[in-house]
Structure formats: structure tokens, C-alpha cells
Amino acid sequence: MTQPKDFGFDADAALLRDTARQFLLDQLPTEALHRLVASDHDPHRAPTNNWNPALWRQIVELGWTTVAVPETAGGAGLPLVALAALAEEVGRAALPSPFLATAAATLVLRQCQGAGTRDLLGEIAAGRTATLAITPRSGAWETAACDLYLDNGKLHGSAWYVQDAAKAEVLIAKAAHRDGLALVAVPVTAAGVELVPDSILDLTRDQAHVHFHGVAVDTAQILAAPGAGAATLDAAWPGVLTLVAADLCGAGEWLLQTTAEYARTREQFGRTIGFFQAIKHPLVNLMIQLDHARSLTYNAACALDHEPERAPALARMAKAAAADAGAFGASRAIQFHGGIGFTWECAVHLYTKRQKHNQILYGDASYQRARLAELLFGV
């Protein structure tokens, strides 16, 4: 198979993206975001989970959660480049929401064969929130690494670094079984589920680790049978990486444009500081990096639909490029804002911290390149 010239970004996708951008500009301007997530500046504050559930209900009505759900399961089944473009807008707004976690769960569910999968996808399309619970305490991103065990129909153990856990209604949990890895849907309200929030740097999301104290699982909850979990997760993984890359690109673009705007207006030495190549050239370098990352992100998203055999390598490329661009942009945005960029009141820090989180999430740039090299060198 080969990719369409336009990455599959058709008129429907463009409408969805444009609507989303305007919606977020209207509903969550930067000042509102700052009020929402940054009211408590104490670095020693308890773990927080600041978001706007009313906004989320509107988002569900706009159909964002249907985008990646197949039409057969009651979704819109749009090309995945539309989902990537949506994730980019979410990043651009630094939106605190269960969008990314639910979209990642959706991508995993699309690969699942278990009996309850279709119903759960339909529920997600209708607004139910979900997140992946797949990472062990060590933080290893590899599929095989697991601290959660499925034994005699019960889950024991824990999952760590669960994204937006406090906003999720269902956990898509990876569990080790004697026959191999399984994937299981677990409502957060199930008996024996204990959610422990983490204190994290990123103010625009929450994170937790989850202990499973003998949580009972019935057949309908098995999304991928023991032994099938690894292949299922691996098939979904390029999509999950692409989502994070898209968020990084969107937030990166916000940082670029915001810093450029500052450089167009802030005066020193009788000139706007954008005059100085010490500002101008790094911003251009950032623009180039972001453009590469964004192009690679669309390419990876399109590959998921059209040439899945290439998607693993292309998604690693996208995440690596986006993580590097994200880190570089976050750093330059603070530096070029000068003193004001070092203050809590300047929204740059919200984006910087989100970029740091996404840079790390599911493996930073050098991690992605090491996996990419294995694919390209065949070892």
C-alpha cells in the first residue's frame, strides 16, 4: 500500500480541526487555562487534578471521542491523521482533559478482539473516558515489562505512570498471565482498585499509580486474551506515540508563536528583540524542527491507515523529532521571555512543563531513536 498525497487529510478532517481550534480559543483562552490549573503555586502542594468537566462534555458533543472509533462500533471512523490534527489542537491549547488518554485507549481497543471491545468502543464514542494502565514501577516502556498479574480471574499488582487516571472511568490494563500478556478493561470504581495520585511537574494533566488488590475480572472484560496482549499492544503502539508527538507539535507551535510575538513587541536597546539574531535564528531553528516533527507526525498517522508495516518506524521518527523540538522550544521560550519567562504568571511555564512531560512519556527522543535503529538496522 502507499499513502495518499494529502496524508488523508480530507475536508471532514479539516473541518473537525478548524472547529476544534476555534472552540478551544473561545472556551479556554490562555488566561482561563492559567486560572484553571495554576491557582496554587506552592511547589509542595498535594497532587492536583484541575480540569473543566463541563468543557469535556461539550467536547464529547463535538464528536472528538468518535473520531478514532470505527463506524461499525458507532464512531465516525475518520482517517487517523484527523485524530493527530485534533491532538495537535489539544496540545496547542495545553488542554487539561482525558482526551489523550482516552484516544490512546481507543487506539489500543481498535486492535482488540475480546467480546466486550465493540461495546466499550461505543461507550467511548459516547463520552466514557479511559486510560492505559500498562507501565510497571520501573517506568519501562517496553511491552513485556509488567507489574500487574492476572491469576484465577483476579488482578494483583500495580500499574504506574497512568495518565489522567483521576479523569478516567475505565482502565485498559496490561496484565501478565501464565499464558502471556492479557489486556483487561477495569472500571476505576471496581472493588480492589486503589488509585494513588502522583505529584507531577505538568499542571495540565494528572498522573497516578494504581494498586490492584485482587480485582475480579470476568470474561467480558478480557479485551485481549492471555498471550494475545503483546501483539495487540504492539500494533496499537505507533498510534499512541503519534498522539503524543501531535500534542508536542501543537504545544510547540504555541510556544513558537508566543515567543515570536514577544520578540515582535518587547524592546531592548531601542529595537524589538526579534531584530537580534541571537533570538531570531534559534526561533527559526525551532520552526524548522517543529515543521519536521509535524510532517513526520502526519506521515506516521497516515501510515497507520495505509501502510501499517511502516508505521512502527515512522511513529518512532515522529515521537523523536517532536520530543526534541518540544524540549528545545520549551527551553528557548523561557530564555527569550527573559525575567518574565521565569515567572509563574507567564503562561510559558504551563507549556514548558507539559512539553517536559510529553518528551518523557513513552520514551524520550534518544530512546525512540534506539528502537528505530533496531528496526532500520535489523537488530
Partner: protein
Amino acid sequence: MSDQAKQDRPEQAEFRAQCRAWLAANPLPEPPVRLPQSAIEIMHTAQLEYLRDWQRQAYEAGMVGCDYPVASGGAGRRDCQLIANQEMQRAGRPFLPNILGLGMAAPTIQIHGNDFQRENLLPRLFSCADIWCQGFSEPGAGSDLANVQTRAERYGDGWRITGHKVWTSLAHFADWMILLARSDRAHKYEGMTYFVVPIKANLGKTVTVRPLIKITGETGFNEVFFDGLEIPDHYRVGEIGQGWEVAQTTLLHERGAGPWVTPSSGRGGDPERNIADAWGLLELARRSPRAGRTAADDPVLRDRIMQLIIRQEGSRQGARRARVPALCDHPQRIPLQAKLVMSEIRQDVCALAMELQGAAGTLSIGDANAPEGGEWALGYLNSYGVTIAAGTNEIQRNILGERVLGLAKSK
């Protein structure tokens, strides 16, 4: 069927099949001498004649200038030049030697020239009957191109040209030059006019070409001195005083934005071609010994190869994205990056290739033991030609910061 072919419209598919059939039926003889890495390093007549003959054949087969109107010597096709380029590359054919004509002179003349120029000059440009060069830079007008001092003075109905151009690739073979000259000293930007001027016909008379030697030791670029060369007014391209504006079209093409602006023209520098391809580093690494294993087993070098492959693919996918307006925030943002990005990737690829080679990276072209004949080291040095020419990459960054990000002008 190739990936590229899958995306063709019907008339493109038909054209592609024609190209492919012709290329299969008309193999090129082996070159009689080593060919240089690109047209601007052509040193010897034997190299030129071989390549010129190849371009003439390609033109006669309809693969050069084919998107230009028939009146200009083209075939009046649409979106077919890229296909011809792809097929020529796929067939392993060498570059077309008249790169400066195809890449810069032709689109400028087509857009800003007059009928005389289009009808008389372009067909011979495409067929390689005439070789073209570009007379923009001067000793005092490099990055600051608007400081051009070469004078164009009115003389009867024509113009008299006096001045000194430098870094003029291919001038030693050139029949024609596109020239930016000062027709009015009172105005900087509004005082320039653009011409086409005959070089070879006036050599030893009012035109002198002095070869310069590159850091590689290769020749191929020159100084050109004009001592009152007289040309008729219909050699002028665009209006008097509009030279800067016309030159922008040339520069846009030189900097690689051509494919997005006007019909692509079979030049070597477009995003479909890359002498130093980052993907080539994979194989080089596998063959290069390092610390008892190979460079392909060294994770730090693997990481650096991946960085370059990612940048190159980012640039290639960017070229694709630039054609999808809904996915671009600003129409010039990607096109204006092309020359900057490609030249730096090429430089970094060549530098990394030398590192991958370890001790053998000390060897130069011609050494019997140099990996790939020492072409990487030569390519590394030649890469500076591209990061410096056509407005240094520092100037490119100014342009991007000012035109795309709206920052204050740095000069």
C-alpha cells in the same frame, strides 16, 4: 509499481510509462571520465560533452522542460517534470548539466522575460545547445546582494555592461548568463535591472572569465569581468529598475522553493534527489570497522545516523506537506526552508560519513583504499558551496525569521 506511480493522474501515468520505456530502450554509454558530484563541479570538457549529450537526448525524448509551453520549447504538459525527474533518477541517469539554466534562468525568463527570449533562448537551454550561468554575486555583494555594483549604462538603444562578478559556476563553459546589474546609482533596490547576456561570444573581447579553484582543488567556478559589453535592449528581463524583483524569482528557485512555485525543471537540487543521502549511512556503517565491531554496532553512531535520517525524512515529508495547504499555517514557511535544510543535512551527512569511516576518513579522493573512492570527503567539502551560495544560510534564517515570523529586519 512504485509508490510514486501509485499517485499519478491518468495523463501522468501515461507520461511515466513513456519515460520508462524510452529510458529502458536507450541506455547511456559509460562515461569516458569520472563524473563530478554535481554540475557545478564540472571541470573538463570531456565531462561536459558527455553530460551535454545526455541532456540533449533527454530533451528530445520529452523529459526536459516538458511543463513549459510549446512556444518556449516545452511540451505544454502539467505536473510532469517531477515524473520525468523521478524516472531519470530511477534509471540511474546522471544529473543534467545545464542546472543553472534549468533551475534558475528558465523559470525567470518564462515568468519575466519577453517573447524573443522565450522563443529563442529557452529551447536551446533545454536541449543544452547553450550552457547558462548566473551573474549575481560580486566581491562586495555576497550576502548583501543588493549592493551590486556592476553597471548597466544606456548606450543608444542598448546597454553597456561593466563590472566584476564572482563565484560564477559554469562560466568557463557558458554561452549565456543571467545578470543582475545596477542601472541607477541613486537607488539601492530600485536601481537594479536584470539581463540575459552572451558570454562565450564575447570572450577575449569585452568579457573575461578567470577560473577560481575550490577548497576541494576542483575548478568549476569563476570570476567574470565585463569591460563594456554591449547588448541590445531586448536582452533586458523585466522593466528597468525592477531587477531586484525579478531576481527574487531566480533566488526562490535557487533556494529550492521552485517546485512549489512554478513547474519544476529537472534540476539536481530538488527534494527528490540527494547526492549524500542519509539512508546511505546505514550501509556505510555496516561496512565500517569500529572498536572491534562495526560502526553499525556503535549505539552513539546509530543514534546520530537516526537523527540525520529523521531530519531528512522530516524535510521530505515537509515537501509533501507543503502541497497540502490545509496542513500548512503559512504558505512560504516550508518552501523557504528548502535550501537551508537540505544543504545542512547534506553537510552533516557527509561529516558523519567521514566519522563512520574512522581512520579511513583521512583518505582523499583517488586513494585506492578510500571508502567509496573518497567521495564522502569531497562531498563534505563541496557541501559548503551550498551552505554559502544563494545567500548564506545565515541570510536564509533572516529571511525565514522576517517573512514568516514577522521579526524585525536584522540589517
